[in-house]
């Protein structure tokens, strides 16, 4: 069998509905073990289906657009959603946390995706939505996780390490000397998933984008090249985003008078 260039087999409506029956495995398990997850499983399934079907339509429309401002606007909207969701998974908040997250996500993803489309992959034109939007989406999805982890770990580290930080401050440390261990740890933890996934890439996991390209009939060797570029993009964007967001949080939760300002931390209402 030779790979066809006509694209993957189409999935009919009936078979699509049939695939939904697979979720009954989860529902059954949840009911049997009384996990209390049936409701959220159903809601999540329905959300997933509706969101993806809608995105299918939106992308179909978007890929026929050729005005740079419009495409960039869609990219900015995606980045905003990523910035906001990154914060929503953290257990503490401070005034300005959303702005910090937005700035970090936007700056890091714009820089890295920008370099990729203008220098590495070079679609024509550079804002060709068929390239720009999926690349940006993959970068954002991973940066979001890193930022979420890094922020949460940093705020938690300051809270649990408060006595150590203040002991150092009381002994004459600058705020950076007192907090650097917590900053380092937060950035380290946030980078671990990216490093882990690169470690086992191809051995344990076949990434979604590569699978998609192969199903579409692309030569595996060509799909692999995209994957390599994507992974480097993800790694650098995550590093930049995490560095930015933890740095901004550090500036916010300490003061120029070398004080720890945990009084600026609050628990979100209805948060975990």
């Amino acid at each position: 069998m030779t790979p066809s260039s006509a694209g993957a087999l189409t999935i009919s409506d009936g078979r699509l509905a049939l695939s939904g029956l697979l979720i009954l495995v989860n529902v059954g398990l949840s009911a049997a073990l009384r996990l209390g997850l049936s409701r959220s499983l159903l809601v999540a399934s329905i959300r997933m289906v509706v969101q993806l079907l809608l995105v299918g339509f939106v992308l179909e429309w978007l890929f026929h657009q050729d005005q740079a401002p419009l495409i960039l606007l869609v990219g900015a909207a995606m980045a905003m959603i990523a910035g906001v969701s990154a914060v929503q998974r953290t257990r503490h908040r401070f005034a300005g946390i959303y702005l910090n997250s937005l700035l970090s996500v936007m700056a890091s993803s714009a820089l890295v995706t920008g370099l990729a489309v203008t220098g590495l992959i070079r679609p024509q034109p550079w804002y060709n939505p068929q390239y720009l939007i999926p690349l940006l989406g993959m970068v954002l999805g991973n940066t979001l996780n890193g930022i979420s982890l890094g922020l949460d770990r940093f705020m938690d580290g300051l809270r649990s390490g408060r006595d150590q930080v203040e002991t150092d401050l009381a002994l004459g440390a600058t705020r950076w000397e007192a907090c650097q261990a917590v900053v380092r740890e937060a950035i380290r933890v946030a980078m671990i998933p990216t490093i882990n996934s690169m470690m086992v890439m191809g051995l344990v996991s076949l990434p979604g984008m590569m699978t998609g390209q192969i199903l579409q009939g692309a030569a595996p060797a060509a799909a692999v090249r995209y994957q390599i570029v994507i992974l480097f993009m993800i790694a650098s964007a995550t590093a930049l985003g995490v560095f930015g967001v933890v740095g901004l949080a550090y500036a916010r939760l300490t003061s120029a008078d070398h004080q720890l300002r945990l009084d600026r931390l609050v628990r979100p209402r209805g948060g975990r």
């Binding site: 006595d163 009381a170 002994l171 600058t174 070398h258």
Partner: protein, 216 residues
Amino acid sequence: MDRPQLLSAAGLERRLGDRLLWSQLDLALAGGDRLGLVAPSGAGKTLLLRTLALLDPPEAGTFHLLGRSPAAWGLPRWRAMVLYLAQRPVAGGGTVAANLRAPWRFRERRGQGSWSHGRITGWLAALGRDPSFLDYDAERLSGGELQLLALLRGLQFDPTVLLLDEPTASLDGATTAAVEALLSDWLAAGARACVLISHDGEQIERFATRTLELQR
């Protein structure tokens, strides 16, 4: 008496939530002063020490150390000279010796020498401890041993004002007496002063040269 004025603070005010802990509080320390803070629990004794060390953003009041403001000194320098020892001391990983050495690496201390093994072992002897205490794992110290570590870690820098928050709360009677004697000697060796919080009224009576009462 013309003992030099070391630390002065005027018009201090502090709130905790909606509650006003104190206001219009003035405080002055001269060389040799041992000020005992007397107040019921929750009146903000610890917060007053933290305020003097400028660990919390001040709400009101002016501060001077040897006639200079905190901004003129720089905050790390201020805290190096007005040194606060917390009620619940903490130590990092490593040995007691490593913990005593660590703060010497702060930018504030650089170029001021390093820890003096002889001085520390002298203090340890005065506290009835063997020099092998220096090799203990700091994370396995008892509460009392941790207090001794924190005390020596602060004393070695010879601050101008030492702020002691229940420094002997976890110590036995003999060691408490040794700590008080050690502090007396240390205070007498220079233009230094200290502020002491203690729940032991007898200790305040024994050790303090005067007291300050915080009202609720």
